[in-house]
């Protein structure tokens, strides 16, 4: 595979006070790849995603979006436009409709004409199955619908890569499926995605590679079949065993 490398992270470090959250993370993502980051809470998965678009700047290390070093760029807003971010608690703008949420980045950041922005917003809403909710406000939507708007908003910016920070963790169980379906479609369409999630069934079936993180380090990474069925590291085995105990075979 000689596809273009979209994201490359080299030796990423981040501490909060005395607490070293990331202790040298390196990974890369090629165009069209979906990688899923798993691991117990508090191992720095979220921090790593927030480092990538500099919402939380790292202490040390480099992050390359294609050829640009994100950590040293002078125009971070320009980089952020090219990196979609989907939040655990949605981050929808409460005073704007679903359509307005998508349009505001297009009109204010990309300086797109209002009519063009509206057309694109409607296209993206249709893509996530919410064309009938274009004029609804976030408070009028279910959690699953909110997150689909969040995904549509990221998509509309036509990013090179989308980061998902536990996109289904704040959802009621019966609403998780609709969000995962949208993400599955995106993976199939060749979107480049880095996903932090606890949905193991989804991780298994969608990802090109699983990255298992613990205590600020990557313990093991590999194709899902290998990592789930035949993990190399003892810690990975223990983690998967604990998951099986919790959720039964294959996880949730």
């Amino acid at each position: 595979m000689s596809k273009k490398e979209i994201l490359r992270i080299v030796d990423l470090h981040k501490s909060f006070g005395d607490n070293e959250v990331l202790k040298g993370i390196s990974l890369s993502l090629k165009q069209g790849e979906t990688k899923v980051v798993i691991g117990t809470s508090g191992t720095g998965k979220s921090t790593m995603l927030n480092n990538i678009n500099m919402l939380i700047p790292p202490d040390k290390g480099h992050i390359y979006l294609e050829d640009v070093d994100v950590t040293t760029t002078h125009d971070i807003s320009r980089i952020r436009q090219q990196i979609g971010f989907v939040f655990q608690d949605f981050g929808l703008f409460d005073h704007l409709t679903a359509k307005g949420n998508i349009m505001i980045g297009l009109t204010k950041v990309k300086k797109m004409k209002k009519s063009e922005a509206e057309e694109l917003a409607m296209f993206e809403l249709e893509r996530v199955g919410l064309q009938d909710f274009a004029d609804s406000y976030p408070a009028q939507l279910s959690g699953g619908q909110k997150q689909r708007v969040g995904i549509a908003r990221a998509l509309a910016m036509q990013p090179k890569l989308i980061l998902f920070d536990e996109p289904t963790s704040a959802l009621d169980p019966e609403l998780i499926g609709e969000v995962l379906t949208v993400m599955r479609d995106l993976a199939r369409e060749g979107m480049t995605m880095l996903i932090v999630t606890h949905e193991m069934g989804f991780a298994k079936s969608v990802s090109d590679e699983i990255i298992f993180m613990e205590n600020g380090k990557i313990v093991e990474q590999g194709p899902p079949e290998q990592l789930f069925n035949n993990p190399r590291e003892e810690r990975t085995k223990e983690f998967l065993f604990k998951l099986n105990e919790l959720y039964g075979e294959g996880g949730a």
Partner: protein, 227 residues
């Protein structure tokens, strides 16, 4: 008997309304000064460094802990000792405005901070800079949140302008006392003055309540903002 009283009210009205006009001017100027000073104070407290946050806290705490009448006397009678002299009207506006700024800064701070942090992060992640994120995302929501407490503050300021009486500003209450001095009818005149204050306060709350209703975000219940 009742007819006499009504006649007195009627004949006093032109003078009282002239005073009410001064009361309205004091209210608008005091609130205006409160907005002009209160907003930067709120920004200082949210986005400022340790020193700025500390200074704003001290200002806010001090102004909120002194009776308005004392503030007014300090400005009008005290400041001339330091060579700073104001007319009664200006002194009243300064005192009312400086104190209202302390209260208003807390209204704006609360309103801005109650817009979730994730929305700021989401705006930045779309490629907005901090100023854009504030203007397009935080501000429109903060304004809506600030309307009910602002209406409350406006009503308080309106009523507290009566303290300007003590500096000799010829506002509603003082016009009334002039009339009482010649008619010896305190009950009738003070009741009329009370009614005029009541109508003005209710009007402010009604207008701001309507504004709040009009700006309401569908799906978010902000019922009964008036008080």
């Amino acid at each position: 008997m009742v007819i006499d009283k009504l006649q007195l009210v009627w004949s006093s009205l032109p003078n009282l309304l002239e005073g009410a006009l001064v009361t309205i001017k004091l209210t608008i100027a005091g609130l205006g000064l409160g907005i002009i000073l209160g907003l930067p104070l709120a920004f200082g407290q949210i986005y400022g460094n340790y020193l700025i946050r500390g200074l704003v806290s001290v200002y806010e705490r001090v102004l909120r802990s002194i009776p308005l009448l004392v503030i007014l006397f300090l400005i009008f009678y005290g400041f001339p000792n330091a060579g700073i002299k104001f007319s009664p009207f200006i002194a009243a506006v300064l005192g009312i405005g400086l104190r209202s700024a302390a209260y208003q800064s807390q209204i704006y701070r609360g309103a801005i901070q109650s817009v979730s942090g994730t929305q700021m992060k989401a705006a930045l992640s779309l490629g907005m800079n901090r100023v854009q994120a504030f203007i397009y995302i935080i501000l429109p929501q903060a304004v809506r949140i600030a309307i009910p407490p602002f209406a409350n503050e406006a009503a308080i300021v309106l009523k507290d302008t009566s303290l300007a009486y003590a500096l000799g500003v010829i506002e509603l209450l003082r016009h009334g006392s002039y009339i009482i001095a010649t008619t010896f009818e305190p009950m009738t005149i003070y009741l009329t003055i009370a009614a005029i204050y009541f109508i003005m306060t209710v009007t402010i709350n009604t207008i701001l309540g309507k504004l709040e209703e009009r700006m309401k975000i569908p799906g978010i219940g902000v019922e009964g903002g008036s008080r």
